[in-house]
Amino acid sequence: MTQLLRYLFRALVLVAVQVYLLNKVPHLHRLVVPSLYFVFVLWLPFSLGRPALLLIGFFLGLAVDYFSLTPGLHAAACVLIAYLRPYLISILMPRDTQEFQYPEPSVRAMQWAPYVVYLGVLTFLHHFYLTFLQWLSVGSFWSFLGKTLLGTLISLLFILTVDLLFPRQQSYRTNTA
């Protein structure tokens, strides 16, 4: 129950920060578009089933969409990363779900290098798909490329900063218990 409330609170805070802070402050440059809300999908527990991941991603994206009036845009990107997440985890950490010693992906659970690769790949995919869908209706190829790459970098910076500033408390799970 506390766990559920914690995740709900995290989702609310992330959506609020995205909608009222990152979407509203004037950006450094029009190609540097930070986004942070999708980190909720990346931080969901290892033990969650894949259909549940997809549905959570869809509704998280839809929540951001209804605030920014782009119905379906963020939802599509979130569903994509929610779908690819389990594959990436199994590549980076080849083991059973039962064997994970921490409940959710973090530096301590995955070590620095695999964790940053995990964040980087999914952040890139999220931005790539998001700007690709925007590009279909408007924009030039160079703005698409620039937005994807610079957006990925700035978002990665934001995610790592948040990760270091607000350490998530996770209990170590042992097999002896």
Binding site: P51, A76, Y83
Partner: protein, 291 residues
């Protein structure tokens, strides 16, 4: 049949993924084309309630700029007062001699005040949300003016208590604009590049344009009242390939701190649009083609 069911069960995650993707695309496509968003009017009631709470805090920091806009508008209205002018004596006699009331005025525009509760300038398609909806008389396609009377957008979606407007900073936005000095008209657009730079297209090179020239809403516009400030010419480039000026316009409204706005209703808009459609139909329909 059994094999098909087994196949679906085996790859149910993938099918769920496809289903959700298609659902998202459908949402996106129907919104981009018709501004007809699935479930959006219901969702807007919720987002609107949250946005208006947030806006109460944010408004506090924009009070000074808002005050200046209101003061400017008051200034222009004070100059319109009938008491500023002296009546010419003979006019009264003339008026009484006319049988019917030939100077009767027909009301064309109705202004309604509203507050902007959510707004972005960073996207290529920017919208803002206001705290008035269909219950307060707001309809689609009404024009939105800033606190000082400059044009800022057009209403595209209405729910009972909130409405969403397409800002001038939207790549699909087209506003009929005219040069104040010469009256030549063109189209004001945005290329999604920079929030301080709109593009005025369709002004031929034969028209003499200078930096700093005022751009107003044209009287040919169906939703915007004529003569409202759109912006000033900020840069002028000559392109030898076309016969038209390439004019960049600094918008009069600061889209970063929209707060109090007016929604303008053109009471004759339906009639104008209907007439326009009927005329096209009559001329272009092969059955009605004149010999």
């Amino acid at each position: 049949m059994r094999n098909v069911l087994l196949f679906i069960r085996r790859y149910h995650t993938f099918f769920l993924f496809l289903l959700l993707q298609i659902l998202s695309w459908w949402f996106l496509a129907s919104f981009n084309r018709f501004h007809e968003a699935r479930l959006l009017t219901q969702a807007q009631e919720i987002t609107g309630a949250i946005n208006s709470r947030y806006d109460r805090v944010e408004d506090f920091f924009q009070l000074r700029a808002e005050n200046q806009r209101v003061h400017r508008l008051n200034d222009s209205l004070l100059n319109l007062m009938p008491k500023n002018n002296l009546l010419v004596d003979t006019q009264r006699v003339v008026r009484e001699e006319v049988a019917g009331d030939s100077i009767r005025r027909i009301r064309r525009y109705v202004y309604r005040a509203a507050t902007v509760i959510y707004n972005t300038v960073n996207e290529e398609k920017n919208y803002f949300q206001i705290d008035r909806g269909s219950d307060q008389g707001i309809r689609e396609n009404m024009a939105v003016l800033n606190g000082d009377g400059s044009a800022v957008g057009v209403i595209v979606l209405v729910s009972p208590n909130f409405a969403q407007a397409m800002s001038l900073l939207h790549v699909q936005q087209r506003v009929n604009a005219s040069l104040k000095k010469t009256g030549d008209f063109g189209t004001l657009e945005w290329d999604g590049d920079h929030p301080d730079r709109l593009l005025l297209k369709g002004i031929p090179k034969s028209v003499f344009v200078k930096l700093g020239d005022t751009i107003l809403t044209s009287s040919y516009s169906f939703n915007f009242p004529p003569g409202k400030m759109l912006g000033k010419v900020s840069s002028l480039t000559t392109d030898k390939r076309t016969n038209f000026h390439i004019i960049e316009v600094q918008p009069a409204a600061n889209f970063r701190n929209l707060q109090q706005v007016f929604v303008v209703e053109n009471l004759q808009m339906n009639e104008q649009v209907q007439l326009n459609q009927d005329a096209r139909k009559r001329i272009e329909d092969p059955k009605n083609r004149r010999p």
